[in-house]
């Protein structure tokens, strides 16, 4: 069951950028690609917990600002040769509005 929550307007997230959504289980980073797709990931790098929301976004990837791990936005997987994975959350855009569905697993970590 997907529980969609409205989190804001697409235009409030810069293209090739990201904004943070605060939750009791920690921050979630919501990314916007050049072609206006959105992705949501826990704002924690699998390496040493760096805030991915602060990284540079390129294509469907983000580079962690702390030590340059590159993370796939769609899967949360680190791009080889790095290893690790960040939790993803379903996100979508409808009529310029961004919706997020928080997956509980995030709260655990």
């Amino acid at each position: 069951m997907t529980n969609w929550i409205e989190i804001g307007a697409l235009d409030d997230i810069p293209r090739l950028g990201s904004r943070v959504v605060r939750t009791p289980g920690g921050n979630i980073a919501v990314f916007r690609t050049e072609s206006d797709e959105v992705f949501a990931l826990d704002d924690r790098c699998p390496h040493k917990g760096g805030p991915l929301s602060q990284g540079i976004v390129h294509n469907k990837r983000v580079t962690c600002p702390l030590h340059n791990f590159v993370i796939e936005l769609a899967s949360g997987q680190a791009v080889a040769p790095d290893e690790g994975c960040t939790h993803t959350h379903p996100a979508k855009v409808e009529n310029g509005v961004v919706w997020l569905s928080v997956r509980q697993a995030a709260a655990v970590s």
Binding site: V21, P24, K48
Partner: protein
């Protein structure tokens, strides 16, 4: 752009290690200067000849040792004529003639024909199965023989002979090494070390006949045996002659170039005909010929510099060191170790561990070293040998090596060998030596980029790059001579920094997507390396026109604060010239308390750092600092950071000029400017240099009669004193020169290339010419800097704290109660 018609023609004879290293270095310095044609007798691209030994031993394949494939030549617009030999140089018409009779004209010619193995003039030397050890063709024949035959004789117990013998043995042959003298590798080893080496090779199954003179090679069509001076005979199906090499200079000599034991060249690697250069084993320089790659690479660098018309470098000869590439045997030798009345020796012999070390001293300096069994300190001794260090203070413990002397750490150039596995190499990413070594060996890494990708070492501030390279060199041994290619800006493109900068100007490209489209970027939006670089290049090229792309800025520059490891930020307000006031200090104290800022620290650049600020607090913190008259210190920027000053003539009894005032003036003029990498200034009021101006990017040392301007210093993991640029008489001139210098760096530096690296690459004289000697150019540079400053000098903090710029950046998009 220069096209093929107007470009000068450079012809290279010899597609080997020295020739191509020269071409690579030339492309780095002047990629478009020449239309280059390379002739090579061998039917391959360029390969790493050194590694023929591991290929023979079955530890590597021919593909593994290729340095430049045929594609590389194409990519760099070089015409490679492989499999073609030059048979004549016609100096009258400036043409070379191939063995097929084809004539090719040159404006400049580079001879890099290497050397040939010496084939002893013995009866039977032309029989089938008698070969030298020089190229892939020889190795192929040896490998073939090892499958068809059993008995091999190697004539020559030097480096090459032993490596050949080891390889053949590994391939299953019975190998006998015949040597004229009673010590193996007598040119590199003393009798004791030679004896130890012989013993361990014998344990592996190698047979020696020495001292022995070969008298004849026996056989009808193919070799069947060898006869010695004492009348004895030995059965052999393969004879490898490895008694030495002879510089290959026939071609040059026929063309009337002066030759002795090699082609005689000057300190600029030119032959007696100024249009003709020569490098590599074929040359003789100051009476020396060389047979190892390190000196040849030094020659290549000098030669390339000259060909690139940056003719300030000279070659002064090299000291060499040797390592035997037989897996499992550790042997190192360097310098001169013949005994003599004025020499002292320190010897350590530990038969149990199979260790032997002999260090030879003369006039308190190391002149030679032979190490067997434990060679870890080889590079360290070699460094001291080359530097001519006075080692008398560590004489007692010298033989135990670097680790025992507590040398190493920050400045210890060659100390990596002596470091323990736990030693941290990359401070930023916490990577220790053991992890790097492990990754290199297990994952078969070969280049700095590989190591960066796999371990993160040297991928951040980059100051440990030198150390990581040393770890690479030390772990790979002889393998790490792979030449650096003309470096693309990043993995998203094949174009170099210089190409990109040039095309931005030529094609009037004014946005990042436009550059990527025009230059056919391989990725959709680039990556974290190229986007910030492009953003900077566009900003520096089109001041006032280009709109800074925040999403292509590294986080620190996007939010104008420094991210810390826990995701909080640090804030450093500007303190002009390191001068502050009670009210500023009070405001800083108030801010720290109001926002619960956990750490307040004084920085090395004479200002105060507030660490641990939460991102959402940043605008409010800045607003308070702004209210007290303070602005951003750009402590996060690839831009002007600090101007460190001393109190100078205002207070100091030694002060000659108002160093503080000058520092403040420089900072007020230059703050806000973006540069390829960070720029730090220092101004000292007298040569006592309390502001440490001579290790800064730009430093001023005041003297009675004026101002000495220095630049290109560094004091990070690399420590380098500045270069003296010029001396001027007034503050105004000081400002003009420094600003012009910075502008030149802004226009030519590669992104993230510090000023000292830029100076290394471009050359001090070139820079001085354009900034000091050419006054009109200096003034033009100054004017361009001043123009761009009108768009740069707005306080980014005020914009964000009070004018709502980038408001979204600092607030969350949403706060969810329930997750």
């Amino acid at each position: 752009m220069l096209d093929k018609v107007t470009k000068q023609k450079l012809v290279v004879i010899g597609n080997g290690m020295a020739g191509i290293r020269t071409v690579e270095a030339l492309l780095e310095r002047a990629p478009d200067l020449y239309d280059i044609t390379v002739f090579g007798s061998e039917p391959y691209g360029n390969y790493n000849r050194i590694l023929l030994s591991p290929v023979l031993a079955g530890e590597k394949t021919v593909d593994d040792i290729m340095l430049n494939t045929v594609d590389w030549y194409e990519d760099n617009n070089i015409t490679l004529r492989k499999g073609e030999t030059i048979s004549m140089i016609d100096r009258r018409t400036c043409e070379v003639v191939t063995d097929a009779g084809d004539r090719v004209p040159y404006d400049r010619l580079l001879i890099a024909t290497g050397s040939n193995p010496i084939m002893l003039p013995l009866p039977g030397k032309d029989l089938q199965g008698v070969i030298g050890f020089r190229d892939i063709y020889d190795v192929d024949r040896m490998i073939k023989a090892s499958t068809d035959y059993r008995n091999a004789v190697v004539i020559g117990g030097g480096l090459l002979g032993l490596e050949a013998a080891n390889g053949l043995m590994k391939r299953g042959m019975n190998v006998t090494v015949v040597h004229l003298l009673d010590t193996l590798m007598e040119r590199q080893l003393d009798p004791v070390a030679g004896g130890l080496l012989r013993k361990s090779l014998e344990e592996r199954g190698m047979v020696f006949k020495m001292p022995a003179q070969t008298q004849a090679i026996l056989g009808e069509e193919r070799v069947t045996g060898v006869r010695f001076g004492d009348g004895t005979e030995l059965a052999a199906d393969l004879v490898v002659m490895a008694v030495g090499i002879r510089p290959n200079f026939e071609l040059a000599k026929k063309a009337g170039l002066y030759c002795e034991r090699g082609i005689v060249v000057s300190d600029t690697m030119q032959t007696y005909d100024g249009r003709i250069y020569a490098v590599g084993e074929c040359v003789q320089h100051r009476r020396q010929t060389y047979g190892l790659v390190a000196p040849l690479f030094d020659q290549a660098k000098v030669c390339a510099n000259h060909l690139a018309m940056k003719g300030f470098a000279t070659y002064d000869g090299s000291v060499t060191s040797t390592k035997l590439k037989v897996t499992g045997i550790d042997l190192f030798s360097a310098g001169d170790f013949s005994p003599g009345p004025d020499k002292e020796e320190i010897v350590l012999q530990d038969a149990n561990r199979g260790v032997y070390k002999r260090i030879i001293l003369k006039d308190k300096k190391i002149v030679g070293a032979v190490l067997y069994g434990d060679t870890i300190d080889g590079p360290w001794y070699f460094q001291h040998l080359r530097d001519g260090t006075d080692v008398s203070h560590m004489r007692e413990r010298l033989v135990f090596g670097a680790a025992n002397l507590g040398e190493g750490g920050v400045s210890g150039q060659n100390s990596v060998a002596a470091m323990s596995d736990e030693t941290e190499i990359c401070g930023c990413n916490g990577v220790c030596k053991g992890a790097i070594v492990k990754a290199i060996s297990e994952k078969k890494l070969f280049t700095l980029d590989d190591v960066r990708a796999h371990t993160k070492a040297s991928s951040s501030c980059g100051s440990c790059t030198g150390l990581v390279e040393q770890v690479l060199a030390f772990t790979l041994g002889g393998d790490y001579s792979a030449a650096p290619k003309v470096k693309p800006l990043c993995k998203c493109t094949d174009h170099s920094h210089d190409d990109v900068r040039r095309v931005i100007v030529e094609q009037q490209l004014k946005t990042i997507p436009a550059v990527m489209r025009f230059m056919e970027w391989k990725t959709l939006n680039g990556c974290h390396s190229c986007r910030p670089a492009l953003n900077y290049y566009l900003l520096a090229t089109w001041p006032g026109e280009y709109r800074d792309d925040q999403q292509s800025r590294f986080i620190n520059e996007r939010v104008h604060a420094n991210i810390q490891k826990d995701g909080t930020y640090s804030v450093v307000p500007r303190m002009w010239g390191g001068v502050t006031t009670p009210s500023e200090l009070r405001a800083i104290a108030d801010v720290a308390e109001k926002f619960n800022i956990p750490t307040v620290k004084v920085t090395g650049g004479q200002r105060i750092d507030l660490l641990g600020v939460k991102k959402e607090d940043l605008p409010a913190v800045w607003a308070d600092l702004n209210d007290a008259g303070m602005v951003s210190g750009h402590a996060y920027a690839k831009g002007l950071r600090t101007v460190k000053t001393c109190v100078g003539s205002e207070w100091c009894r030694f002060g000659t000029q108002d160093s503080t005032g000058l520092g403040v003036r420089l900072e007020k003029f230059m703050w806000g400017s973006w540069t390829p990498a960070k720029v730090k200034l220092g101004v000292s009021g007298c040569p006592r240099n309390c502001a440490e101006a001579t290790c800064k990017d730009v430093g001023v040392v005041c003297v009675d009669s004026g101002y000495e301007i220095h630049f290109a210093g560094a004091a990070g993991l690399h420590i380098k004193g500045t270069e003296f640029l010029t001396k001027v008489e007034t503050e105004d001139e000081t400002l003009e020169v420094i600003v012009a210098l910075t502008q030149l760096y802004r226009e030519e530096g590669w992104y993230l290339e510090r000023m000292y690296k830029w100076c290394d690459r471009v050359g001090l004289e070139q820079i001085r010419k354009r900034v000091v000697d050419d006054v009109a150019n200096r003034k033009a540079l100054f004017a361009r800097f001043a123009y761009s400053q009108q768009f740069a000098q707005t306080d980014p903090w005020a914009e964000r704290a009070s004018h709502g710029v980038d408001r979204n950046e600092f607030a969350p998009l949403a706060e969810l109660e329930l997750a």
